[in-house]
């Protein structure tokens, strides 16, 4: 349901979650992020292939944001309109760095 591709380049880590980020798959992204924290100053989440996000997914993004703000920055790229709308209603557009 969810596949996560990861690339690392010096202190920059890019994660590309593909599929659905819901209650059942959110823990997978959470542990992928957890595993990437060490030595990462820039965490990029490329949401181009993300089809769906629920509050469980938002929760993971919030946790990641809190952690990364202590050691660098986190960016979201290629956010689709439908997912952007979820970010908007939940105020996540104000919390997250979306490009």
């Amino acid at each position: 349901m969810l596949q996560i591709h990861k690339t690392t380049e010096n202190a920059k880590t890019t994660l590309v979650p593909e599929g659905r980020l819901d209650t059942l798959t959110a823990p997978e992204l959470e542990s992928a992020i957890e595993a990437s924290l060490d030595g990462t100053q820039e965490l990029v989440l490329d949401l181009e292939k993300l089809e769906y996000i629920s509050s469980a997914g938002l929760r993971v993004l919030l946790i990641a944001q809190k952690k990364m703000s202590k050691q660098g920055e986190m960016k979201l790229i290629h956010v689709s309109d439908t997912i952007m709308e979820i970010f908007e209603v939940t105020g996540f557009t104000d919390i997250l760095t979306i490009q």
Binding site: S55, I63, K66, T82, V89, I95
Partner: protein, 533 residues
């Protein structure tokens, strides 16, 4: 030589050697024994016969002419070889002498209504029969087991018939075999494995076509029981039950007929079905009738019955039964499972009541209270069951309603159900995703909190109204009363560090749906989500 007269059958005991030296004398002795007995049939007991020559064989041939039903029994292997070589085994009934096996001190590994199963050594078990005249029973069981094996059922076939005390036994090679009953009793964590293997076995045998006339129809047993008890039921319910059972279509596919967890064994990594004497043909629903009784029916009055018989408790038994139905019917919809179970129960109670009445008549132990309980349940059940037939295809869940256990693992089941319904009305992708989101939030809430720390069911219903096209998704559960709308909205303007993790679910649901309505009615939380497309 000695004779034992038994009705019009005369048994003559042969002993020592019969050769050209004493054949004539032997023949005279035999004839002398038969004189005046008016024997219709003759049996030669060869237990003590050591040798027979062609002169002796001629004596037997002449005897066979006079008594066409002549049988030779208890033949020792040396003599049997001679009879086989000379073609005598094809001319008349020749029964080998049976090896004697003692089961003193052997481990009892199974016990059924007709006898016990002992392990006689590491690789072999012997199944004994209470009935002293068990040979025909054994013969029948061997024949059906052989038939089953040929038709593709993994089973054990007895390779020898032996004497055990005053009766007979059949010997099977069963390496390290453990019944599913023992596995479930000792390792409850293997429940899912057992359910999966058991269901696969049921599906396998139910797909096997049996050549005409090889096995009896199971339907006859059920119809017999219903015929006998129908007049004990009020208001024509007995007639209704009989009619419904008669209307179950005939099938020529296989049924085990007594397929409970003691009759399915794991031998190495192979799953085998044993105890084939009840093998029948018929509609697969009949299979579930004795199964229901083994797992649930007998224990409804006394929950210890299943513990005594299967070795695990009533709770495990009920779960195994339920999960097997879910797997067999390939559904998590509790309504579908219950509807199927009710059909089965109608016949299962009829069987139990009939058995109880027959036991009472025969003066065997019988519990009238249990019979009253089963009768009451059958009377309660019959008015709402209108057919006993089932077809897994057409019994698909009422397309717009799904009832299943509220657990996070079932989330995708619910979302698939929602998507299937939304696709029918060409729902735009964005709305579909938003409704997915709302459904997930609500379902996960119910899964996490409604029944905690226990588990329970949730029902999801989808209705579509016209003008404008409006989708209404209703959730129902019987957990603690909880109105999610009373929860205050999270502060969506707070910076990340001040944001609480979680608490967004209901807020998001309200945002993506047009209307969310809660009510608590008849012991149910009812939450309606509406969205115009």
């Amino acid at each position: 030589m000695a004779d034992m007269q038994n009705g019009n059958m005369v048994t003559i005991v042969l002993s020592g050697r019969i050769d050209s030296g004493n054949a004539q004398q032997s023949e005279q002795e035999i004839l002398a024994q038969l004189e005046g007995k008016n024997a219709a049939s003759v049996v030669l007991d060869a237990e003590n016969l050591k040798y027979i020559s062609s002169a002796g064989l001629r004596v037997i041939l002449r005897l066979k002419k006079a008594y066409p039903d002549l049988r030779i029994i208890n033949v020792q292997s040396d003599v049997y070889e001679i009879l086989e070589m000379t073609g005598f085994t094809e001319m008349m009934t020749v029964e080998k002498a049976y090896r004697v096996v003692s089961v003193d001190g052997c481990e009892v590994i199974g016990e059924g209504a007709n006898g016990k199963v002992y392990r006689i050594d590491q690789d072999n078990v012997v199944k004994t029969y209470k009935n002293a005249d068990a040979l025909s029973e054994i013969q029948h069981e061997r024949e059906v087991a052989r038939l089953a094996l040929v038709l593709g059922v993994p089973t054990a076939i007895s390779y020898d018939v032996v004497r055990v005390g005053d009766s007979y036994g059949s010997v099977f090679e069963l390496l390290n075999a453990r019944s599913f009953a023992k596995i479930l009793a000792a390792e409850p964590e293997k429940m899912d494995f057992c359910v999966e293997e058991y269901t696969a076995m049921l599906k396998k045998i139910h797909s096997i076509t049996v050549p005409d006339g090889k096995l009896p129809p199971f339907k006859d047993k059920i119809l017999g029981a219903i015929e006998r008890i129908k007049d004990t039921l009020p208001d024509g319910l007995g007639e209704k039950l009989l009619k419904m059972a008669q209307d179950i279509p005939d099938r020529n596919t296989m049924i085990h007929g007594d397929c409970h967890t003691k009759n399915i064994v794991l031998a190495g990594d192979e799953v085998l079905l044993i105890d084939m004497d009840t093998l029948s043909v018929g509609h697969p629903i009949f299979e579930f009738v004795p199964m229901y009784n083994a797992y649930v029916g007998y224990s409804e009055y006394d929950p210890d019955v299943v513990l005594h018989f299967q070795g695990y408790n009533a709770e495990t038994s009920r779960k195994f039964w339920h999960d097997t139905l879910a797997a067999y019917l390939n559904t998590k919809d509790e309504n579908v499972i219950r509807a199927f179970e009710e059909k089965v129960r109608c016949m299962a109670y009829a069987y139990l009541i009939d058995r109880s009445i027959r036991h009472a008549k025969a003066g065997r132990d019988d519990t009238p209270e249990a019979r009253a309980l089963w009768t009451g349940r059958l009377i309660e059940l019959l008015p709402r069951v209108d057919s006993l037939d089932f077809d897994p295809e057409s019994e698909a869940p009422a397309a717009n309603e799904l009832t299943l256990e509220a657990t996070a693992e079932n989330l995708h089941e619910v979302l698939d159900f929602v998507d299937a319904n939304l696709e029918k009305i060409d729902c735009p992708m964005k709305s579909q995703m938003q409704m997915n989101l709302a459904v997930e939030e609500i379902f996960i809430n119910i899964a996490n909190y409604a029944y905690a720390p226990n588990k329970g069911n949730a029902t999801v219903r989808i209705e579509v109204g016209d003008d404008p096209v409006t989708v209404t998704i209703t959730f129902m559960d019987r957990g603690v009363p909880y109105d999610p709308l009373k929860r205050s909205d999270p502060d969506v303007t707070a910076p990340a560090d001040e944001r609480r993790i979680g608490g967004l679910g209901i807020f998001l649901t309200k945002k993506v749906m047009d209307d969310v309505i809660y009510e608590y009615k008849d012991g149910q939380n009812i939450l309606m989500l509406k969205k115009a497309l």
